[in-house]
């Protein structure tokens, strides 16, 4: 009895592993550390950040994102020109072979419009990343409250 159970479990596990591999083979793009900045009260526009890794030997391009949890999503780049901050839409985000691109506060971000449900700290939302090769990678992004009281963890440290 026990042997049959173990055998079944092993088969199931193997099947799962095979499926996982199949999904990974579909796109060389992997998303790391996806998070959404918790919106202050009364705001309906949010931003998501993440690291996009390209493990393959060919350049990849991210063509856009969407989300079932938001009315719409757009990739933007914040640029500061002559002291003026602007957000420019990014239609194709290149991720070089073997490289990665970081979306982080004050730079590249995913602009998320109108959450379809309340999203508070600790909640997760689904983001779908589309590539030029036609892959759609689904990512779970955690909502994080960031208000800067975590003294000492100053991201701008790295910029000098």
């Amino acid at each position: 009895m026990n042997t049959i159970k173990t055998g079944l479990l092993t088969t199931l596990l193997l099947a799962c592993l095979c499926m996982l591999q199949a999904v990974q083979a579909e796109s060389p793009i992997a998303i790391d550390a996806a998070w959404i900045r918790e919106a202050p009260p009364a705001t309906s526009v949010l931003a998501a950040y993440m690291t996009i890794n390209n493990a393959s030997e060919t350049d990849q391009q991210i063509t856009g994102m969407d989300s079932p949890d938001f009315r719409s999503a757009e990739i933007h780049r914040t640029v500061v020109e002559d002291g003026v901050a602007k957000m420019l839409p990014v239609s194709g985000l290149d991720v070089a072979a073997g490289g990665s691109v970081s979306l982080e506060p004050g730079g590249l971000h995913v602009m998320l419009f109108d959450p379809q449900r309340p999203l508070r700290e600790g909640d997760t939302a689904t983001l779908v990343v589309h590539t030029a090769s036609g892959a759609a990678i689904s990512v779970q992004a955690t909502v994080v409250r960031k208000t800067g009281d975590d003294a000492g963890h100053d991201h701008a440290h790295h910029h000098h």
């Binding site: 526009v45 931003a47 419009f113």
Partner: protein, 208 residues
């Protein structure tokens, strides 16, 4: 020399000495340039001309509201999901780092989107970052009165799809006002709490 001529001479000499004294005072008040500041500090802080805005309690916020305390002032809007929350988080980090200083330091966000940013909305927004932060809004005319003298630019950008609501390009610096209500210094991006707090301590030392 007649006594009258002597008297005139004495008066002229006295005036000259007084003028010299005042000139020296003015020069002394000009803070020596420091090379360890990342902020841009004016040799002589600039006077602010009258302007009329309101804070998130719907109380008047004008040039007098900048008197008797230091103010870090940021210009932004609540529909801004990246730069504005990031800057307010940095300012909260500055507030945490300056808790021990012997000075009254305040933090203000002035909206460049008075059409959408009502006092109520700003109240909820700024206090999410820090309960002591103050939001300021008002009429377009009132906003222009202040932004023009600080050289602040803001420009509404209509969205391509028409549904998402407009964005606003805006000056992303942080403006520092001293307890005389004068424009003292400006911090330009990239902003960091360590840098702002460190620079402020030096400027406070020079000011006292």
């Amino acid at each position: 020399m007649k006594p009258a001529q002597i008297l005139i001479g004495v008066i002229i000499a006295t005036l000259a000495v007084t003028a010299g004294f005042w000139a020296a005072q003015a020069v002394l008040k000009d803070r020596a340039p420091r090379h360890d500041l990342s902020a841009t500090r004016f040799p002589v802080a600039r006077d602010i001309q009258p302007f009329e805005l309101i804070d998130h309690h719907s109380a008047a916020f004008d040039q007098d509201a900048l008197q008797q305390h230091w103010s870090f002032v940021f210009f932004g809007y609540t529909y801004c999901p990246d730069v504005c929350p990031t800057t307010l988080s940095v300012l909260n980090g500055v507030a945490q780092r300056l808790q021990d200083v012997d000075a009254d330091v305040r933090f203000v966000m002035v909206t460049v989107d008075p059409e959408r940013d009502t006092p109520e909305r700003l109240a909820e927004y700024v206090t999410y970052f820090n309960g002591d932060f103050l939001g300021v809004t008002g009429s377009d005319a009132g906003l222009t009165q202040l932004t023009r003298q600080l050289g602040i630019l803001y420009n509404r950008v209509e969205p391509e799809d028409g549904a998402a609501g407009y964005l606003i390009d805006h000056t992303a610096g942080v403006f520092l006002f001293d307890p005389d209500g004068r424009y003292h210094a400006v911090f330009t991006p990239p902003l960091s709490a360590d840098r702002l707090a460190g620079d402020f301590r030096k400027m406070l030392q020079d000011y006292q």
